[in-house]
């Protein structure tokens, strides 16, 4: 390690610190200006207020959007996690021709421009005569959530020693009993983590919802609509801050659970691999 330690240019830690600031600074302005009295976000700050937050629950359109987002988020996270479980299990446990290609296809939405994914789905849904609604948004969100679900679940399943299930069968347990007593408890944290990750993505996702929804708005669509009005900005900042907070809490819990799952199955990686 000494040989490696030597190549630590003095600027590297400083640079790392600055980089973190660069990552966080823009995001920090949202909460700061959400409690600022002035309606335009500029310095110097004009004093703290919670008035913008108090206004939020008095906006019926916002309440509707919140409900819509919650419904879409819950449905999309459950559906994509179920599909993710099947795929991740298949990928980590079985070997068969075309496995990598199928995996690549399922992961593809991760690297395709969202607009193109969104308009392609829009075209097909219109061709199929589906009327655009929150349901079509869920369908779209599931497609983009599956890759993330797969990543989380694969890290939970990967290190899963196959002989654990064999040991269970060897000790007299049935296939279902093995699933209930060994497999499920081992991968439960990864599954919950996947649900949280997918929910967060769905909650924050804008493009696909924007193209695939009918008249109902999700929270990001509501925010998008409000952005046209300068006077509404403080309210949007307050709402944005709450969303940031929700994402932060959900992702922290998801990450803690994912690590617990990975430690259980003695594997590493996950979102980072």
């Amino acid at each position: 390690m000494t040989a490696i330690k030597r190549f630590l240019p003095g600027w590297l830690p400083t640079y790392a610190g600055l980089y973190i600031v660069f990552l966080y600074l823009p995001v920090i302005f949202l909460p700061i200006f959400s409690i600022n009295i002035a309606a335009t976000p500029k310095f110097p700050l004009s004093g703290a207020t919670l008035q913008w937050y108090e206004d939020l629950p008095r906006t019926p359109a916002l309440i509707d959007a919140t409900w819509n987002s919650l419904m879409v988020g819950v449905s999309a996270s459950i559906l994509s996690t179920v599909l993710g479980i099947l795929a991740a299990r298949s990928i980590t446990r079985y070997r068969y021709p075309g496995r990598r290609t199928i995996n690549g296809l399922i992961m593809a939405p991760l690297v395709l421009p969202e607009v193109i994914v969104a308009i392609s789905m829009l075209l097909v849904m219109l061709q199929l005569g589906l009327s655009l609604s929150l349901f079509t948004v869920v369908l779209g969100h599931v497609l983009v959530c599956i890759p993330y679900s797969m990543t989380v679940l694969t890290s939970g399943f990967e290190g899963f020693d196959r002989s654990l299930e064999e040991a269970s069968a060897d000790l007299g347990e049935s296939a279902f009993g093995t699933f209930r007593r060994v497999t499920l408890p081992m991968v439960a944290p990864a599954i919950i983590s996947s649900l949280l990750v997918c929910f967060t993505i769905s909650l924050d996702e804008f493009i696909i919802a924007f193209f695939l929804t009918g008249t109902e708005a999700t929270l990001p669509i509501y925010i998008w609509g409000q952005l046209r009005f300068a006077a509404k900005l403080p309210g949007v900042l307050a709402l944005g801050t709450l969303l940031l907070l929700a994402s932060f809490v959900l992702m922290t819990v998801a990450e803690i659970l994912r690590r617990r799952a990975a430690r259980r199955t003695q594997s590493e990686g996950g979102l980072y691999a």
């Binding site: 790392a16 795929a87 969202e114 607009v115 392609s120 075209l123 967060t200 924050d204």
Partner: protein
């Protein structure tokens, strides 16, 4: 006692030995993945095929003429507005991917080689902003760069400028800054992963064989992390070329990108075939650009001997 109890059961169970076909790994694995696979086929592959088909058709007000034509591609490639938008989108995505990779590499290196016990904390710190809403992150740049925004008012407050500058927002530079910030994490992770795979003893071997720290970095670490650099570049380049939100919010007239034009064809302009042709063209060209980038990085990797 199980043994005795189980052993005395009637042992021949009807049809107990399942057919080897159903038992085979391949069939079980494929059956398990097929729901997800079919989902991706219906909502990803089929839609893309439909888009490709549309790009060869013609829109007549509310109906679509299904005769094969290359007219849409002619328009997409030769009409100055689309050509310019395409070039700008490619320029922006290339610049953004270059910037993110160059800015991200030292961080990934720092975390991988010097993160020590706090490695996972560093990674967590870096991933968190990525999980916040993309829309909100772009919005915060609007707040920062705006005429009455944070940067202008801050600089004025410090007495550096006397009146707000309108040069900050609504141009392609604003788009590049915003996108670079938004995709930073995406570039760090793949590079970090490939640096983690670099066997530390290789670096020690290089040092042992007389390379200084910089040389061993250039001759061993950097070339071995090339796969991470490649995937970082691709993972940023391909999605950003089709970004819609950022140009719309901070791009203004000079920052409009191809995705805005595509959206317009599916929205107000209502010319689906042209929108489809623009989408296909964008994907083909960005794939070519991505392929070239991969080749260039591989060539550079080979030069580092």
């Amino acid at each position: 006692m199980t043994a005795a109890a189980e052993g005395s059961r009637p042992l021949r169970m009807a049809g107990a030995r399942r057919s080897p076909l159903l038992q085979s790994e391949a069939v079980q694995g494929f059956a398990l993945i097929s729901p997800t696979f079919v989902y991706a086929l219906i909502l990803l592959v089929l839609p893309i095929l439909v888009v490709i088909a549309h790009s060869f058709w013609t829109q007549h007000y509310l109906t679509i003429d299904h005769t094969f034509t290359l007219e849409n591609y002619r328009i997409a490639l030769t009409e100055p507005i689309y050509r310019d938008l395409l070039w700008r989108s490619l320029y922006i995505s290339l610049t953004v991917s270059l910037l993110t990779v160059v800015l991200a590499y030292p961080i990934a290196y720092f975390i991988s080689f010097h993160g020590g016990r706090h490695k996972s904390l560093w990674l967590f710190l870096i991933t968190i902003p990525f999980w916040t809403s993309y829309l909100l992150r772009v919005m915060s740049w609007k707040v920062i760069l705006g005429y009455n925004g944070v940067l202008n008012s801050g600089l004025m407050g410090l007495g550096i400028i006397s009146e707000p500058s309108d040069a900050l927002l609504y141009n392609s530079t604003a788009v590049i800054i915003t996108l670079t910030h938004a995709w930073a994490t995406f570039a760090i992770l793949p590079i970090f992963v490939s640096l983690e795979k670099v066997d530390r003893t290789l670096v020690e071997a290089a040092t042992d064989l007389g390379d200084g720290p910089l040389r061993s970095f250039l001759r061993v670490t950097l070339p071995l992390s090339a796969p991470g650099v490649i995937s970082a570049a691709l993972i940023v380049m391909i999605p950003t070329v089709g970004d819609y939100v950022t140009p719309k919010l901070v791009g203004g007239k000079d920052g409009v990108m191809i995705a805005n034009a595509i959206q317009a064809q599916f929205g107000k302009a209502s010319n689906w075939p042209l929108g489809a042709a623009l989408s296909v063209t964008t994907m083909v060209i960005v794939s070519l650009m991505a392929g070239t980038t991969v080749l260039i990085i591989r060539a550079l990797q080979r030069l580092a001997r």
